[in-house]
């Protein structure tokens, strides 16, 4: 990678719009730069456009207007299949292939990329260890795993071909609080080592503050503000204040910051 591509944003939105299509949210004139190696959390309520933004990056949705660039190149110039294979994608429902073993689920992208079998096997073993799963689970089927284990497999599968970009759509949203906290901690550890460019969608302020290097707050299809974690905690932006208030009713209010 040369000098120029290092300083260039990993993903860039300029004046992107998307009109509502069935269940997908709308998006108005979104401009946004996602830096290399950062974890940008998109925070907002359901239908605010976070998931739409994510799906525009891997071209599961096509923008109505504006341009999205990945690695400086407009998406329209990318071979979409190539683009998707360099972007890991993790969703809340996980979407593991029920008829494949865990091993085949994780190794599918390397397999269709024609890696030699022994390299795939080694990579799968490495990933199973990386996401904290027992090696013995590799020969099992998804239905035999718990929700937390399945989402670990989802993360491992997304990382299989070592993509520089990772899109995560409420990946821990369906998990019980303890498992969620566990996976969040492990995600932080993993991200410290891997330094991927991560776009992470959530509606949970606590999760956003814990995981994000920057937080983009979305509302009704617009990006209201984008701030670092520290800025977010002191911001006077009304919607940010509203979010902080909504989450500060519980007993463990400003905890996320204190944890280090």
């Amino acid at each position: 990678m040369n000098e120029a591509s290092q300083t260039q944003p990993a993903i860039e939105f300029s004046h992107v719009s998307y009109r509502a299509n069935s269940s997908d949210g709308i998006l108005h004139d979104l401009s946004l730069e996602i830096r290399r190696g950062e974890t940008l959390v998109l925070l907002g309520r359901s239908g605010s456009g976070k998931t739409t933004t994510l799906k525009l990056i891997n071209h599961l949705l096509k923008p109505e207007a504006g341009e999205i660039r990945v690695d400086g190149r407009p998406i329209s110039e990318w071979d979409i299949i190539r683009l998707r294979r360099m972007i890991g994608y993790v969703i809340q429902e996980v979407g593991l292939f029920p008829h494949f073993t865990i091993e085949r689920n994780i190794g599918l992208v390397p397999q269709i990329e024609n890696w030699p079998a022994d390299r795939i096997r080694a990579r799968v073993q490495e990933l199973v260890r990386l996401v904290g799963l027992d090696q013995q689970l590799a020969s099992r089927y998804p239905r035999e795993l718990s929700g937390g284990q399945r989402q670990r497999v989802g993360v491992a599968r997304a990382l299989a071909a070592d993509p520089p970009i990772l899109l995560m759509d409420e990946p821990f949203g369906a998990l019980d609080p303890l498992t969620r906290a566990e996976l969040q901690r492990e995600f932080l550890e993993l991200q410290k080592r891997l330094q991927k460019t991560v776009v992470f969608v959530t509606h949970d302020l606590r999760e956003a503050l814990l995981l994000g290097t920057r937080i983009g707050l979305m509302e009704a299809g617009r990006l209201v503000t984008i701030q670092t974690r520290e800025e977010f905690l002191t911001s006077t932006e009304p919607l940010v204040v509203a979010y902080r208030d909504a989450f500060s009713t519980g007993p463990d209010t400003s905890q996320p910051r204190g944890r280090s």
Binding site: I87, Y89, H99
Partner: protein
């Protein structure tokens, strides 16, 4: 003479007609699968074709079978031989369950699985052959099962145009007003239907994704 005595005395002919029956059903189901499964896949990709294709298959199904055999009689090449004609008509009848089940099977795949597959960069073909078809297989086999059982019954009518099969006995028995002869056709046909139903049912359970 009761039916069992009749069948025992004519066992060579019973076996021949049964094999003929199986052949007519088998080849028609195979042809229907070769046409119906791709059509079912097609309408999952081109929703605009959904109505015309499923609609046509539906209409064909409503034509009384005896009438359909009659309609096809003047057709060139096809009409020249009774078995060709029977195979064409039977194939048309078997299309609906095959198209419908292929479509339903693929549409029934968990959307999250499809989205994950697409998002990780599977091509349309890889998604179809590695994910959608394997996961839809149980439902597609169920369609073949329905089609086969349906055709085993319908094929008895093909004897009316001289295509052979167990219907020969049924029509002969009707003409002779002889129940034993009718049953000599009906009992093996019913046995075939039960056998096919059980066999495909087993296959369906085996091949359904866990």
């Amino acid at each position: 003479m009761n039916v069992w005595q009749f069948m025992l005395q004519n066992r060579a002919e019973v076996i021949e007609l049964t094999l003929e029956h199986v052949w007519l059903v088998g080849i028609s189901t195979l042809l229907a699968a070769l046409v119906g499964i791709p059509l079912g896949i097609l309408i999952t990709r081109r929703p605009s074709l959904n109505k015309p294709i499923l609609g046509s298959a539906n209409v064909i199904q409503t034509i009384p079978s005896l009438a359909l055999f009659g309609f096809l009689l003047p057709a060139p090449w096809i009409g020249a031989r009774a078995d060709r004609l029977a195979i064409l008509a039977l194939t048309l009848y078997a299309l609906l369950p095959l198209i419908r089940n292929t479509y339903a099977g693929i549409k029934g795949v968990d959307p999250a699985v499809v989205e994950a597959g697409r998002g990780m960069g599977l091509t349309d073909r890889q998604l179809l052959f590695q994910v959608e078809l394997p996961l839809a297989l149980g439902v597609i086999i169920a369609g073949i099962r329905v089609a086969t059982v349906l055709l085993i019954g319908l094929t008895t009518i093909a004897a009316a145009i001289g295509a052979g099969g167990l219907g020969e006995y049924i029509f002969r028995g009707l003409a002779m007003v002889n129940n034993a002869v009718i049953l000599a056709g009906a009992i093996p046909a019913a046995a075939l239907a039960l056998l096919a139903d059980a066999g495909f049912g087993w296959l369906e359970r085996r091949l359904s994704p866990r």
